[in-house]
Every structure is written in C-alpha cells, then in structure tokens.
C-alpha cells in the first residue's frame, strides 16, 4: 500500500483543486449576490417613492376638491406629504388641471418624479414614477 501523499505536496491530487472554491466565491459574491441583494434594496426604495407619491397625490386631490382650483394651499399640502415621505418637493413635478374647476367639474392632480435605479455591475436606469387622482370640485366660483 502506498503511503498517502502529504497534504499540499506535489503528489497530492487535491493540489490542482485547491483554491477553486475561493476563486468561485470571489467571482460569485460580487457578480451575483451583491447585485441581487442591492436590487432588492433599489426596488424597495422605488416602491417607497411610489407610495409617497400616491399619498401626496391623494392628499392634494382632496385639497383641490375642497378649494376647486390650483392654489398655493393644494401645492403646500402636496409638498408636506412629499417631505413627510422623505422626498424633496423641488424634484417633484406637480400638475393640477384645470386651474379653476367649478362645482361638479373633475379636477386632476398628478405628481411625477424621475428616479434613478442603479445596481452595481448590472447597470443604471432612469425610472419615471408618477401618481394621479381625479376628484370633483366642491365649490362654486
């Protein structure tokens, strides 16, 4: 019976395989796992932004129905909601139309923001997000 070759010696058949797992780990962790985990974070952040936009548009639409016009009160209300949700109101485009809605007329409030989704090793995309609600003016001008 031949004596087993010494670990790591030139006769050790494992020698050629040693470190393969480490090399695989070095390739797989940054190229697969990190992008997968970071994309979870990126999608979560986008979803949060979308929910904040929804809340801001809904609050703005209610305010717009009560005043029946595109007024500072409506825009302040939307900005408050955006700030509460951690968004910068200056980066969000708000459209309220028509500027004056008479009693019973529909009034539309739309908020839009251009988000950037960047995942290392995969790429970076511009993601436009928006939310819109339509309600009915409650005032006679």
């Amino acid at each position: 019976m031949m004596p087993a070759p010494r670990l790591g010696s030139r006769h050790d058949p494992r020698r050629g395989q040693r470190g393969v797992a480490a090399v695989e780990a070095v390739l797989v962790v940054p190229l697969v796992l990190v992008p997968v985990l970071l994309s979870v974070v990126v999608f979560g952040r986008l979803e949060h932004t979308r929910l904040v936009l929804d809340a801001a548009a809904a609050a703005g639409a209610r305010q717009a129905a009560v005043v029946g016009a595109d007024t500072a009160a409506v825009r302040t209300r939307i900005d408050e909601e955006l700030r509460d949700g951690g968004l910068d109101p200056t980066s969000v485009r708000v459209t309220i139309e028509p500027a004056i809605a008479d009693w019973g007329d529909p009034i539309r409030v739309r908020v839009e923001v251009g988000e950037q989704a960047s995942i290392p090793f995969i790429g970076s995309w511009a993601v436009p997000l928006s939310a819109e609600f339509v309600t009915r003016s409650e005032v006679t001008h």
């Binding site: 058949p13 494992r14 929804d54 639409a61 609600f133 339509v134 009915r136």
Partner: protein, 163 residues
C-alpha cells in the same frame, strides 16, 4: 486519485447551473407578488377616492329643511362609477380591461339607513357609499412563475357622509 475525491469534482458547477434558474424564478415570483400587492394598494386608493367623491351627492334640499343627511341614491351611484372609471384610467397598462368596463361591473351600494353594510360587513352609522370592484390585472412576471399572466384583484371600500 481516490473515487470519493473524483465524485465531488464539478459539484459546485452543478449547484450553480441548477440553482441559478431556481434563484431567478424565486426572484421573479417575489417581484410579481410585490407588484401585485402594490397594484392592490393603488386600486384601493382609487376606490377610496371614488367613494369619497360619490358622497358629494347629498340631498341638499332635505338637509336645509332640517332633515338628517341623505344621499341621493342614483346620483351617488353614478358619481361612484364615473370617478372609479376616471381614477382607474390613471393606473396604466396593467389593467386587462378598460377602466369604463371595470367600473360599470363594480358593485355599488348606497345605504341611507343605519345597519350592517352589505359590502364591507361593518356597521354604517351615516349615509355610506360602498364599492366592491374586481380588477383583472396583467402581471407578465406571474406567467414566468407559472401562475398565469392575468389575475383578478377584488377590492372593497366605503366612504361615509358626515355633516
């Protein structure tokens, strides 16, 4: 070379090849369910806005003559459907039917008398507009996960008129 050592060679590659599609499938399923829940939240908000708008159909003449607040039933129902359609139309291309068709197929119940609400199952103490709507949605990632690309979301909500 020992037999055991030989059998283990290439196992990492087999794992990688077999597990990668499974991992991607799980990710697709997570994204699909996530977007479905996001859509449900969005539709719920649209339904709330429609119900709230429909409570504008208050019987003002009855109110000014000292009667308790009442909703004008046909007007409230028409408003609920109109504003459900208008708000559903803002959802985007995930809806598998037109906003007008979905809204005309919705169940709308106007209750003026106190009692248990037939749609929400909760007690109504004020005139209430309740809506239940079934929305067919197209989620392509769900097809990838083997669940069919179109699913129907049923959402219920209500709004009460208080003076």
């Amino acid at each position: 070379m020992s037999g055991r050592r030989q059998r283990e060679r290439g196992q990492v590659a087999v794992y990688a090849i077999l597990l990668f599609p499974v991992l991607m499938l799980v990710l697709a399923l997570v994204l699909a369910v996530g977007s479905l829940e996001a859509l449900r939240t969005r539709i719920r908000a649209e339904l709330d806005m429609a119900a709230l708008t429909a409570t504008q159909a208050l019987d003002v003449t009855a109110l000014t003559t000292g009667h308790p607040p009442r909703l004008i039933e046909p007007e409230a129902e028409a408003l609920a459907r109109e504003y459900l359609a208008r708000n559903l139309a803002t959802t985007g291309d995930v809806l598998a039917a037109s906003a007008a068709d979905i809204a005309s197929g919705a169940e709308v119940v106007i209750t003026n008398e106190p009692g248990v609400d037939p749609l929400t199952g909760t007690p109504d103490t004020a005139p209430t507009v309740s809506i239940r709507v079934a929305v067919p949605a197209r989620i392509p990632l769900l097809g990838l996960a083997g669940l069919g690309p179109t699913v129907t979301l049923t959402v219920t909500g209500s709004s009460a008129a208080r003076t």
